[in-house]
Symmetry: C2
Subunit: 490 residues, 2 copies
């Protein structure tokens, strides 16, 4: 079984994630639910994001509505541009995403902005036909990926947001004013976005409903190098991937050599890399890839993708786009509001530019799972080597046997810890089997209550990775877990 | 200004919440965004919910998709029953929610299940006409409150879920199996639900897109009194409201007197009340109201609402419904899956019954804000007396002046605390004014850096409520904040 399938099996069998509405035949593709194990892990990932990006940098976080008015997406360009090329079979009516289908069959990667006639020519040249029935294709069309919503009895047109950042852009004026903002101002948001993919696939990797954690940094385009906090991280070595070749280079050198355009962008890219180091992803299998002109989104003036290598190829986890004043200019024009702000430092009126870090949460969770997965053949076990602060369960509380008061003792310890830590009580099966179950979902510790516990109030703590056991006082457990578990490793 | 308007002003001016898409004329009604202050408070409320309900009771939490297949809502009854009565003006086409409109004009409260002819009769009897143009109404119709979604190029019918619990019901079989569930099993979920209200209003109180925290307890209907954990809370006095009169009575007595039907329901209602005690809501202005047959939702065999009194009347914060086997039976019939499980205790095959606690997060936030709001005329200040663990900001870090190294010292303290606590650095304006700003958003502490700090590394900590100051070592700050701030008060 390849690693993707192994992780999928684990996810399905151990409560990480599974298809939504799965008991129904009409369950739409591209929708997945997090189970109890997955929710815990995702929540702890979000906590880490809040700590290491939002609070570390002093960002402001908002939480906006997912349904937004039509005007927003006229201004953002999504009504016109947020489309995928589609081909439909004349004979059986099956639909395919044209670029993906062409790439799969011919190996030919179409640019993001390929025209309809380019696509039609490739189909004719390569004599492509419907893989389902062999029929010919109609001329390609473009399919808008936004979900349309009708509001109220009058059915007013609105949309589910295709990216969370639109909430940030339209809330910017109020936030800037009421929170006494100054440029550069970073506003963050965690929430759902929705894209009506033609062909969703690969579980968490191409969803129609997914979690984004987006950060939009509003800045004065004339002062992009005035970033004092860059000082403390400018020596960090970044792993860049530019024109198909790797460069390991400090953030400062990347700016000096004009690879990264300014200190502000360099600072936030470095902050992002430092964040991912703490997730346990193998950083030697990551890169900041500079996007070529044909690959960039329609609003980006330049872009890096933070990518991670997995068993099914390189995945984009974070799109880092310099959106210039594209967004505020568009919203200003359509809403007829003046969105300029004063920058007191150079005493100018400025329409802020935006640099963004647009993170996919679901893909990040998948990547962490894959990079943490370890088949320990020596000990015949599979282990998720998750960082303690990302583990869905921090410790299992296990009575060695259920008799002689050990069950009650273990349950008491569980009830003393459960409010403060994600712990789990388990008494069923042999102790070895219970260890295996905990290791499989990445619990870093197992606390075992044995006969000695009854006489001296000590328990053993078993370390998932070393498999070593330590005996400590019950009264020390909480401190131990707190210290060990929240120790940030980078 | 009445309290509702005062809270609204505070919310708008201090980043709690504000209308979504507000810079646009076509912003749909009933959608609100949380600003930075509101997000922090909401996140901390959710943490409390996780701690005091989910973890305390050992519930499993899931996070399901918001878009769900049509079959789900055939089975749940929402396609047929989830409607509001609507009247349309023949002349100008304005639409009104019939029951609300009739209640407003005539004071006559229609039952939940009033028929169309009942409504039409009342309109004729009371000679009601359109309040906008004076025109006559058409015969009343029913408006389905679900938002319809088209999936993929073939536009398959799906819906935004009108309640989060449907994800829990359809995920139940997998969760029960993979998490080795045993009845009673409580599954919780925090997430968004969507209702296409005819007339959304009052900011967070009647939204079209809103946060629910729902808990569904799957139980064996033959063992509803076998709840050992009820023992420790059966003496808790509940404030019940039944047939228009109050009864303060212990949970146990309520069961004995058949007011609450069984121990399981009594246990969860008590757990809920204990949770709200910790939110700072004035419990003397709350009640568990038993719903009459005409008021209950279509799936409930009996129901209590946990309500709180506010300046605009009693608000339902939590619907506590005994849904019997309504949901699993419906899903079993439509999906043709057998959803029975084995209960090893009485060794029977059972289709679980469900008792639910369906909490509105947004309304809870509003109620906490209102109950915490305090106009301190003596000291000419307004204070949000939020519990420290719910406060959006735990402490402000304030240099008394910005000169002589005080700014740098204060910024250093801020940077030492910011990763672990929601703290806020503020140097602008007089110290008194900075205190006021912190009090207004409920920050329980203000840490001031003064000249003495430079010589002996101490700071003052000012308590929001007592306004008293305490001088402590900087090295003790983190411990102090941790201890004071996370001390749960009930």
């Amino acid at each position: 079984m390849n690693t993707y399938d192994t992780i999928m099996k684990l996810a399905l069998e151990r409560g990480f994630y599974f298809p939504s509405c799965e008991i129904y035949g009409d369950a739409p593709a591209g929708f997945w639910d997090y189970g109890p194990t997955g929710v815990n892990m995702k929540n702890r990932f979000v906590e880490l994001w809040r700590r290491e990006l939002v609070r570390r940098d002093g960002m402001l976080e908002i939480d906006g509505s997912q349904i937004m008015s039509k005007s927003i997406f006229i201004a953002s360009g999504h009504i016109t541009n947020f489309t995928d090329p589609m081909i439909i079979c004349k004979q059986c009516g099956s639909t395919f995403r044209a670029d993906k289908h062409i790439a799969e069959i011919t190996g030919h990667e179409l640019p993001e902005l390929a025209s309809g006639s380019e696509i039609d020519n490739i189909i004719v040249e390569n004599k492509l036909s419907c893989p389902k029935c062999g029929g010919p294709f109609e001329k390609s069309t473009r399919f808008n990926m936004m979900f349309k919503i009708g509001i109220g009895p009058s059915n007013d047109e609105a949309y589910l947001r295709p990216e969370t950042c639109q909430s940030i852009f339209v809330d910017f004026p109020r936030i800037f004013k009421t929170m006494r903002g100054r440029l550069p101002l970073a506003i963050a948001q965690l929430g759902k976005s929705f894209r009506n993919e033609i062909a969703p696939r690969q579980s968490l990797l191409r969803l129609r409903e997914f979690y984004q954690a987006e950060i939009e940094i509003f800045c004065n385009p004339n002062r992009l190098d005035e970033v004092p906090k860059f000082e403390e991280m400018k020596k960090k070595v970044l792993r860049l991937y530019i024109n198909d070749s790797y460069q390991e280079i400090t953030a400062q050198d990347a700016v000096d050599q004009l690879i990264i355009p300014n200190n502000l962008v360099a600072y936030y890219l470095t902050l992002l890399v430092l964040f991912y180091e703490k997730t346990g992803i193998d950083m030697n299998r990551t890169r900041l890839r500079q996007l070529s002109t044909s690959e960039k989104a329609f609003y980006a003036s330049f872009a890096f993708d933070f990518e991670v290598e997995t068993s099914i190829g390189w995945l984009e986890l974070v799109a880092c786009n310099y959106r210039s004043d594209y967004d505020l200019r568009g919203h200003s024009t359509v809403s007829k509001q003046n969105l300029h702000v004063i920058d007191p430092i150079d005493n100018t009126k400025v329409l802020p530019n935006v640099f963004e870090l647009s993170m996919g949460i679901d893909r990040s969770i998948y990547s962490i799972l894959e990079h943490s997965f370890f088949e320990d053949f020596e000990h015949e076990r599979t282990v998720l080597r998750l960082r303690p602060y990302l583990a869905p369960i921090l410790a299992g509380i296990l009575p060695l046997i259920t008799k002689d008061g050990l069950r009650e003792k273990a349950q008491l310890i569980y009830s003393q810890l459960k409010l403060d830590f994600p712990v789990f009580y388990d008494e069923s099966g042999s102790i070895g089997r219970r260890y295996r179950r905990l290791e499989e979902i990445g619990a870093p510790f197992a606390v075992t209550v044995d006969r000695q516990t009854l006489s001296d109030d000590t328990v053993t703590i078993r370390n998932r990775d070393t498999m070593l056991q330590l005996r400590i006082q019950i009264s020390e457990l909480s401190n131990y877990l707190h210290k060990e578990a929240y120790k940030l490793v980078s």
